[in-house]
């Protein structure tokens, strides 16, 4: 395989394994081990993207996850993914990638006209341009910008991949597997501690993969392999490659995203999750996250072919790629000299090293000079030339203070590659997410960890220590200490591996490289944030306009708000801001670092909580029968409840009317298994009920049932249900379906925190019992067939009584209670016999025409009777008195939860919203639930609202519509007419008492 820009040998790629891929529709060859970026550079492709705002041609800046420019749309269809960094995409056979942000293509981009209009794209552009008028924003500007800018395209099809999560605990989590991370992990793992080592790259080694330095007398690759083998021999080590630590949260909880199959052709491993989100709870964390090189800010510093010096060194050493034939280096520190030497060795002609420092005489500079490299001191690159690729740079001498240039003469140097280094930033992102405090290091001109707030250690470059011997030593120390703090020590401590490093001369900060023109004048652009196209002129303008807090600056200019979160730009931006304010950098400070460190796909966050597993569907023991008999289901909380049971050709309306008629005239059966049930035992059980319900319980006979309402201390209704006395010290409470768990927790809170002296035990039996409610004039006949030994006469088994009996061969509890107003029996059997009970009811009831009915019919029937539903007639602001249920509030009891609040000024107002019934003048008109109620029809806006409709149905029984409503002072408005103003008409309604059917309750007692 031949690549125009591949070295003859070297690198960690496999030259024997050629990989074919396409970029922007054109086919290329790379090697196994390449990234998309290294493979493109090997083919001489630098122009890979267009910038966000100005659509300027952009190349590859970096070699890692900090990449701001080379953003790629990978693959097509359901697999497509935007905003991926070419520097992180591992090459695989058949890979298909495209530039994003370019239309119609990256070489001819219509949007580049934006570059010519750049005067209007200044800082605060969005705020200034699109404030007024608002309608134009939605219609014109917003779609225009979406089309012109936009960062890639989201897939339109469902994601075909699977994702999952893992929850693990460890003693020591080491983030980063460079020299510091490797030694930290080994030092910790040798103690027997549970260690996780995570690194975002496909192989361990970090900066050693670039520098190739010698450790313990071994070449870097051999030393890495040796440490890997030693790690593998440790008892409790887990090494996660291709795994990015994305977030650092409270109590040492970190999330890691592992890319399990992204390096394989799509669909190659369908049984594996594509990505896995690891939730790690670590006793100790070692952050060995390394650092990021800073670009230098000079005019037109964004042309394809301008790269970070350390990145060029990575491409040369790790990937065997020469990103240019003839290079200039621009630096303010010594690290670029090491890059220059390696570049030269790989066959790149070094035109010059341009160093902004006044004099450079360290050992690295000496090596460069000895290699014949020209070092131009006290000079800077002030301009660059080239359209889609760099062709030359202009160099000028600097004034003594670095604030300007000397003279007007420029020296032009032809080159196709400019490697720059503005110094290094420790990657403190995770550290800062952990809420650790930072300190500004003047000498290294960067922020370094200062005071940790969580149980963590920083090691190596992340800690502001850049030299290899320091990284190795800090790694050993951090790993050893972290393990010791977690309770583990090694028999033999890990010796610090030996390494050497050249002494480095001090860096010279030069935050904006001067030129013959002021920044912002002329055509040159000094880019700070390459991804969001924020320039030094934008930062200075924002500062002049008063955006002098770094957080304001960020939002006004959008600096650091791209998908790279400003990894290469933040420090440059805040330093320029500080300079313009004549304030020290620490005073300006940094913006807040937030998760995720790099973007995380939604699929990984969702894991397997998608489709039918998105939320549990709770089902009753009878569910199978409902499904097989065509029930339409309603979601009630997480429960699937039969809504209605349509027969062939029936609409919902038809089915519900038929079900209603069956219950009122014959017999129906409802699956009521979902009601909450709490078993209450203990000598003080009745006392607890007295305190929690508004009514009295002490005198309830064994075997009898009573309806109760619960309020909160504020006096507002929170639940209701029937409670039965099973024995002198034994009750069974039922709750509404959706409040079952809440009520139990609430009772327990009072028992455990307020009244621990009460001897009461509460046990949830919600799911132990399954319940079928048989209702209607013929209910007795059906129950008699199922339980022939039971005396069902009204005297022996009256309304609000409970009996135990064998029903359909199963021991059961039968409650004669009703939510329909009809004669009704609720039969409870253990859940494992629930399906049998139901099928036996259908069998025994067949001669009587037993009709299964769903929640809709239940709602209609109870509304006809004016029975409330908590959560429908109540919303947490409704008292029992508001519901017309004064009768259930005990006047005798000295205290119960809620009682004191009934005499509060607000709860005793006469004009509170109160429950009433509404009958529309047009009996066929069914009001929409939630409709507002007014006193007059029409009038001047705003019309005072008296209240609203809580329930509204067609009542088949009454042959007309009915509604319940909460209306201010409603209890005194019976007989009056009110109005429901709807969108298309006004509906006049009569206010009536909230009971429409059998107000005397004759049928209940039948």
């Amino acid at each position: 395989m031949s690549n125009s820009h591949r070295t003859a040998s070297g690198g960690r790629i496999d030259r024997t394994r050629s990989v074919t891929f396409t970029f922007n529709g054109k086919s290329y060859q790379g090697c196994a081990g390449d990234t998309l970026a290294s493979a493109l550079l090997a083919n001489g492709v630098h122009l890979v993207a267009r910038s966000f705002k100005y659509h300027r041609p952009r190349g590859i800046l970096s070699a890692g996850s900090e990449e701001p420019s080379a953003l790629i749309q990978l693959e097509r269809g359901g697999h497509t993914e935007p905003n991926l960094r070419a520097t992180q995409i591992e090459l695989y056979e058949g890979l298909s990638a495209a530039s994003q942000n370019a239309w119609p293509n990256v070489n001819f981009d219509v949007g580049a006209v934006n570059g010519l209009l750049s005067k209007i794209f200044v800082a605060g552009f969005y705020y200034k341009t699109f404030m007024h008028p608002q309608s134009l924003w939605m219609k014109l500007y917003e779609p225009l910008i979406r089309h012109a800018a936009g960062l890639g395209k989201a897939p339109k099809e469902p994601d075909p991949d699977r994702y999952d999560k893992m929850h693990v605990h460890c003693d020591v989590l080491v983030v980063g597997a460079g020299p510091a991370g490797l030694t930290a992990a080994l030092a910790a793992a040798r103690t027997g501690a549970r260690v996780i080592l995570a690194d975002e790259q496909n192989e361990l080694g970090g900066s050693l993969l670039t520098s190739g330095e010698t450790v313990d007398g071994l070449p870097a690759a051999s030393w890495i392999a040796k440490i890997e083998a030693e790690l593998a021999a440790c008892p409790e080590i887990r090494v996660l490659r291709r795994t990015t630590a994305a977030g650092y949260y409270d109590h040492n909880h970190l999330t890691l995203t592992e890319r399990r199959t992204d390096h394989l052709p799509r669909g190659a491993a369908p049984h594996l999750s594509r990505q896995r989100l690891w939730n790690v709870r670590a006793k100790r964390v070692v952050l060995a996250t390394g650092g990021h090189e800073r670009p230098l800010v000079f005019a037109d510093n964004d042309r394809p072919g301008i790269m970070l010096a350390g990145a060029v060194r990575t491409y040369v050493n790790r990937y065997g790629v020469t990103p240019g034939k003839r290079a200039v280096l621009l630096t303010n520190n010594d690290s670029a000299y090491a890059a220059a030497l390696d570049m030269q060795a790989a066959g790149i002609a070094i035109a010059a090293i341009v160093d902004v420092r006044t004099a450079v005489n360290g050992p690295l500079a000496a090596k460069a000079r000895a290699a014949g490299i020209t070092v131009l001191e006290n000079r800077a690159v002030v301009a660059t030339e080239g359209g889609k690729r760099l062709t030359s740079v202009d160099v000028m001498p600097l004034a003594a203070d670095g604030g300007g240039v000397v003279g007007m003469a420029r020296t032009s140097i032809a080159c196709d590659l400019l490697a720059m280094s503005g110094g290094w930033n420790p990657a403190v992102h995770l550290y800062s997410q952990s809420t650790g405090k930072l300190r500004y290091d003047e000498a290294a001109a960067c922020f370094v960890p200062h005071k940790a707030t969580q149980a963590l250690h920083c090691a190596g470059t992340c800690n502001g220590r850049f030299a290899l011997p320091d990284c190795l030593a800090e790694g050993v120390a951090a790993g050893t200490e972290a393990a010791r703090e977690a309770g583990f020590t090694a028999d033999a401590p890990l010796p610090v591996p030996r390494a050497e490093a050249d002494a480095e001369e001090p860096l010279r900060p030069l935050w904006v490289v001067p030129s013959t023109q002021l920044v912002g004048r002329g055509s040159g652009k000094h880019f700070v944030d390459f991804q969001n196209d924020v320039t030094a002129a934008d930062v200075l303008l924002a500062s002049r306009e008063g955006y002098q807090s770094v957080e304001h600056l960020k939002r006004y200019t959008t600096m650091g708000m791209g998908t790279d979160q400003g990894k290469t730009s933040n420090v440059n931006a805040l330093a320029i801001l500080a300079q313009s304010l004549s304030a020290p950098i620490p005073q300006v400070g940094t913006t807040t670092f937030r998760p995720p460190y790099t973007p995380v796909v939604f699929g990984a966050l969702a894991g397997r909580d998608v489709g039918e597993l998105a939320d549990p569907a709770r089902v009753t023991p009878m569910h199978r029968w409902h499904v097989e008999n065509g029930a339409v289901f309603e979601d009630v909380g997480q429960w699937k409840r039969p809504w209605y049971f349509p027969r062939a050709g029936e609409s919902m309306h038809d089915a519900v009317n038929r079900e209603c008629r069956a219950v009122r005239n014959g017999v129906g059966v409802l699956d009521a298994s979902t009601l909450g049930k709490i078993d209450i035992q203990g000598p003080d059980a009745a006392i607890l009920l007295n305190r929690m319900y508004t009514n009295a319980w002490s005198k309830l006979d064994v075997g009898r049932c009573r309806y109760g309402v619960m309020c909160k201390e504020e006096g507002m209704v929170i639940d209701d249900g029937v409670t039965t006395r099973l024995g002198p010290n034994h009750f069974l409470m039922t709750t509404t379906t959706s409040n079952a768990a809440k009520v139990l927790d609430w009772l327990e809170e009072y028992l455990q925190t307020e009244w621990p002296d009460l001897r009461v035990h509460l046990t949830s039996v919600t799911e132990h019992w399954s319940t079928a409610s048989i209702a209607g004039p013929k209910a007795r006949d059906v129950v008699a067939a199922l339980a022939p030994d039971l005396d069902l006469s009204a005297d022996a088994f009256p309304f609000m009584a409970m009996k135990e009996a064998v029903v359909a061969g199963v021991p059961a509890r039968i409650f004669r209670i009703s939510f329909t107003g009809e004669l009704s029996y609720e039969i409870n059997v253990p859940a494992y016999h629930g399906l049998r009970l139901w099928t036996e009811i259908m069998k025994a009831g067949a001669p009587h025409g037993v009709t299964p009915y769903g929640t809709e019919t239940m709602h209609v029937l109870r509304a006809e009777k004016g029975y409330i539903i908590v959560g429908q007639e109540t919303d947490g602001t409704v008292t029992p008195q508001d519901l017309g249920m004064d009768w259930i509030v005990s006047k005798q009891k000295a205290d119960f939860v809620g009682k004191r609040s009934f005499t509060r000024q607000d709860t005793s107002r006469a004009d509170r919203k109160q429950l009433v019934g509404l009958l529309t003048q047009d009996p066929t008109m069914v009001l929409p639930e939630g409709a507002q109620i007014t006193a007059q029809a029409g009038g001047t806006v705003p019309i005072p609202m008296l209240g609203y409709v809580t329930s509204s149905y067609w009542s088949e029984t009454m042959g007309r519509s009915i509604a319940l409503a909460l209306i201010a002072g409603g209890s005194r408005m019976i007989g009056q007419t009110v109005h429901a103003p709807l969108a298309d008409k006004n509906v006049a309604c009569a206010v009536v008492k909230p009971v429409f059917y059998d107000p005397e309750g004759v049928r209940l007692h039948g």
């Binding site: 929850h167 949260y249 707030t453 149980a455 327990e748 809170e749 621990p756 000295a894 009682k899």
Partner: protein, 109 residues
Amino acid sequence: MLLIHCPWCGPRDEIEFAYGGEAHRVRPADPSALSDAEWADFLFLRANPKGVHRERWVHAHGCRRWFNVERHTVTHEILRVYPPGAAAEPDAAVAEAQPPQASQQGVRS
């Protein structure tokens, strides 16, 4: 995501718990003896300190026991867990807005 030591079950993830608001608020023995203002204070007013806060939690998905947690509302550090009924720390004046030192673990109790 906090790591909370249930006094009975040990350290568990926050998802197993439910929050119950400020601790050590005792329901008045005779609410009828309270003025409307005093009753409103009991119903609605809660401390919201920047600093150490004592609060109720219940191990909802575990042993269903309620207990008290002393938590720093800035750092989320949990300083102490203790059963209901146990007195708040005698030196309650310690509850200043002083962020504590990095804890050796999420919880010491």
